[in-house]
Amino acid sequence: MASRKILIVDDNADIRLGMHLRLKANQYETFFAADAFSGVAEARKQRPDLIILDLGLPAGDGFTVMERLRQIPFLAVIPVIVVSARDGLGNQKRAYEAGAKAFLQKPVNDAELLAVIRQALGEPAGTNKPTLQGQGSV
């Protein structure tokens, strides 16, 4: 089966690299954007199967990205997982209202992130991939 494509939208280059390494090891193909504008542009270009989205971004924010995605029919159906360092109180509710499938607060547990990705992509929970998790002690 072809690799599923995941777009990572985060303004922190270290976070993008870390997620790329983890997702690549689990046979996902990754693409990147570092700001809200590029996030939407890259989603149009790559048509990913899933988007991992930070909330605090230059040139808008994660909510702006979700709002734009919802306005474009072929992008509106892409599941979005919000991974943010912002507090989970108000932002989680707002993210779900904006259409996010999940809200994870940084630092995320790798196993939890991968489980959420698989669920959002409709992959079996027991998919046997070699590097499911790290120490998991986040």
């Binding site: 922190n12 270290d14 976070i15 870390g18 997620m19 390494l21 983890r22 090891a25 605090g56 360092a85 912002r86 507090d87 989970g88 109180l89 607060q105 940084k106 630092p107 995320v108 790798d110 590097t131 998790q133 790290g134 120490q135 998991g136 002690s137 986040v138």
Partner: protein, 88 residues
């Protein structure tokens, strides 16, 4: 901006910065421990495990003392200091 609002905003910014830095420590620590950048010796794995465990302690302090806490920074800093004292 009122003083409590300003302090809440400062705490949220502080939490945001710490969480991003912790996320990187966890991500790359787990990448190393899982051998994604090459195999490690048992000793190397042990040391990275210690690093990750201590990063988790910081996260727990952050969870209990900072997030969503609309209180003065001094009170939060005292909490962190007390929590740190208990951990050692």
């Amino acid at each position: 901006m009122t003083e409590p609002t300003r302090r809440t905003s400062e705490l949220a910014a502080l939490s945001h910065e710490l969480r991003n830095a912790l996320a990187c420590i966890h991500q790359f620590g787990n990448i190393l421990i899982d051998g994604l950048a090459g195999e490690l010796s048992g000793e190397q794995r042990e040391y990275i495990g210690i690093m990750l465990e201590n990063a988790s302690k910081i996260r727990r302090v952050l969870d209990s003392a900072l997030d969503g806490a609309p209180e003065p920074i001094e009170k939060c800093l005292n909490k962190i200091e007390r929590a740190s004292g208990r951990e050692t």
